[in-house]
Symmetry: C2
Subunit: 192 residues, 2 copies
């Protein structure tokens, strides 16, 4: 039993101890070292992923070879490529570890069974989807309306704990601005 996982579920759901055990028992553990990929473009996303410890990023590589980060997944977050997982088709994105990371994985069949057996888990699942939709919309709005500096400030506010764990270039990649622009902003903020 993962104490971290148990703690997360106790704080965020009203699942019983039995249910938690049941869910836990269906999971596989995996440890990733820095830069190791959990999912590679072209592969099929076979698992639901819970990050116990560490930090993942979801990103795609465009035709010029540039990386664009879609999402960070720090400890106590869930992640997967919805499209690939739902339809079991090849993924267009990559998921890799930024730090040494521990994850729990559930196979689709197992997880679906859990969803039907444990209504409270189904509820949690819905909540996570809603939150993601809301969060994507917010990000889209910021991306459309904010200046690079506003984007950076917004990022710091939204993910204060990630700031020190991420290389700047990844923040730039997430915000859709060049690293040059980002260092300029930081320079200006220091000298004023």
């Amino acid at each position: 039993m993962h104490p971290e996982f148990e703690k997360y579920l106790k704080e965020n759901t009203s699942l019983t101890q039995d249910d938690i055990h049941h869910i836990n028992n269906k999971a596989f553990d995996k440890t990733l070292h820095r830069n190791e990929l959990l999912l590679q473009a072209g592969d099929i996303c076979k698992h639901k992923v819970f990050v116990v410890k560490g930090l993942l990023r979801m990103y795609s590589i465009d035709s010029n070879g540039n990386e664009h980060i879609l999402q960070f997944a720090p400890e106590h977050s869930w992640t997967l490529d919805v499209e690939s997982y739902d339809k079991q088709i090849p993924s267009e994105i990559n998921m890799g570890a930024i730090e040494p990371t521990e994850v729990m994985l559930w196979q689709k069949d197992d997880f679906n069974k859990l969803l039907s057996e444990v209504p409270e888990l189904s509820k949690l699942s819905q909540q996570i989807i809603s939150r993601n939709i809301y969060y994507s919309r917010q990000r889209m709005l910021t991306t459309l309306s904010a200046t690079p500096e506003e984007k950076y400030d917004d990022f710091i506010e939204r993910f204060p704990k990630l700031l020190t764990r991420l290389p700047l270039r990844m923040i730039a990649s997430y915000l859709g601005i060049s690293i040059k622009t980002l260092t300029r902003i930081r320079h200006n903020q220091l000298h004023r």
Copy 2:
């Protein structure tokens, strides 16, 4: 009974005629004239919306008074502000008609009842959510990685039918580029 609605459901689901009637009977009709708002920032999103005919846009207004378009909803599409609808909290966005538009509205209670009574509707609902998630991700990627011209070309490919129905400034607003940039692109594409 809305023939358009019936047609849509027959083409996209395996709902029975009875179910379709049942769903239809719980809906309210509403007609919007050009520029009329269906939802205003500050209001609570009380309905699920199906666009029978016409064209809606979902947009927010930033602190400088600029509009940013999050989504277009043409005929045969569903729309709502998820966050506001789910939690029944004030919305941060607006929904307005670009053309004279006919919509069908379901109250939350009624729709939830339908969802539990009609499994096939629940399935449709899930599909729509998945598609939205996938589509948002694609849009985010394009926004992050494409040049203004690529964004415009992508828009034309993705929504060829909307192109002639939308004022250019709304396309610019959706793409997150200035209208100046957009007319420049169009100018270049003509003269080459």
